[in-house]
């Protein structure tokens, strides 16, 4: 299969590639969200600890 055929998917290119694109999006979001959440969580907990030290 060459690249043009792969893209065309025998006329079903839109459906096949939309499905794969959505799959990629779902898989990416579930990795990015918890990583971002961890970052902000550590920041909040750091500030929380600092404020407790001051008190």
């Amino acid at each position: 299969m060459n690249w043009a055929d792969l893209l065309a998917m025998g006329g079903y290119g839109f459906y096949v590639w939309s499905a794969y694109a959505f799959a990629a999006l779902i898989l990416a979001v579930n990795v990015v969200l918890p990583l971002q959440q961890k970052k902000s969580l550590l920041k909040i907990l750091r500030e929380f600890l600092r404020s407790k030290h001051r008190a």
Partner: protein, 243 residues
């Protein structure tokens, strides 16, 4: 069985060690599965190239059921034995399971349009899978509406356990009702009615999705542990070490 790891303090570093290996294995199986599924597997004799949607549709649909069973099982264990880690596992499962369900519905819709001529039909398989999405979302909404972690876990566990009834309904819907959705090709009695050249990439993708689930569920559980154990000395050490 090592019960030591049921404590969040010991589970946190264990999960941290496992995540890179699980992520690496996910990537390997995903790449091989995609290569075999997109480049090597032949077109289907009836559906042409459109059937390649199967390689993301079927694994996500399987995972939508598997994650629900894990979620309800963990919620049940948390309910009966008051194990915090089990409750955390249940909450971590919900958004991931909801994503797999959404992916199964969307990829199915993108497959249904060219093959059936409709994005959506109210047949038993599609409807019960949509109910699964609502069960996940209901579980998450219920958790978000209760502040106290123990009450939150108990209330949502009851919902998760009641919803388990939907799992066999989804699985057997294609046998019990006359559905537009096709019947099982892999998990039926006797040999699977799918050629090895298509079955191999399908199973590799399913394995990749499984490993992916373990990777991201551990990521989420580690966050929940940090939040819920924030008063523990070992969490304070981690937080301060990162500053």
């Amino acid at each position: 069985m090592n019960y030591k790891y049921a404590s969040p303090k010991n589970f946190y570093p264990l999960a941290g060690h496992l995540i890179p290996w699980l992520a690496g294995a996910t990537a390997v199986f995903l790449l091989i599965g995609l290569y075999l599924g997109l480049f090597v597997a032949p077109p289907d004799y009836q559906q042409g190239e459109s059937y390649r949607i199967m390689f993301v549709h079927v694994p996500s649909a399987w995972m939508s059921l598997f994650v629900y069973v894990v979620m309800a099982g963990a919620a049940g264990v948390g309910l009966v034995w008051n194990i915090k880690l089990a409750e955390m596992l249940a909450s971590a499962c919900a958004p991931i399971g909801a994503s797999f369900t959404l992916l199964a519905l969307v990829s199915g819709s993108l497959w249904g349009k060219p093959m059936w001529g409709a994005w959506w039909v109210w047949d038993a398989r599609l409807t019960s899978e949509l109910i699964l999405l609502f069960l996940y979302l209901g579980f998450m909404a219920l958790q978000a509406s209760i502040d106290d972690p123990r009450r939150q876990a108990r209330a949502s566990a009851v919902l998760a356990l009641v919803g388990v009834i939907n799992i066999p309904i989804i699985h057997f819907s294609v046998q019990w009702w006359n559905t537009l959705h096709q019947a099982a090709s892999v998990s039926k009695i006797g040999a699977p009615s799918i050629h090895p050249s298509m079955l191999t990439p399908l199973l590799l993708m399913a394995l990749a999705f499984q490993l992916y689930f373990f990777t991201v569920v551990l990521l989420r559980m580690r966050n929940t542990i940090l939040l819920r154990e924030r008063h523990a000395a070992w969490v304070k050490e981690i937080v301060q070490a990162k500053s």
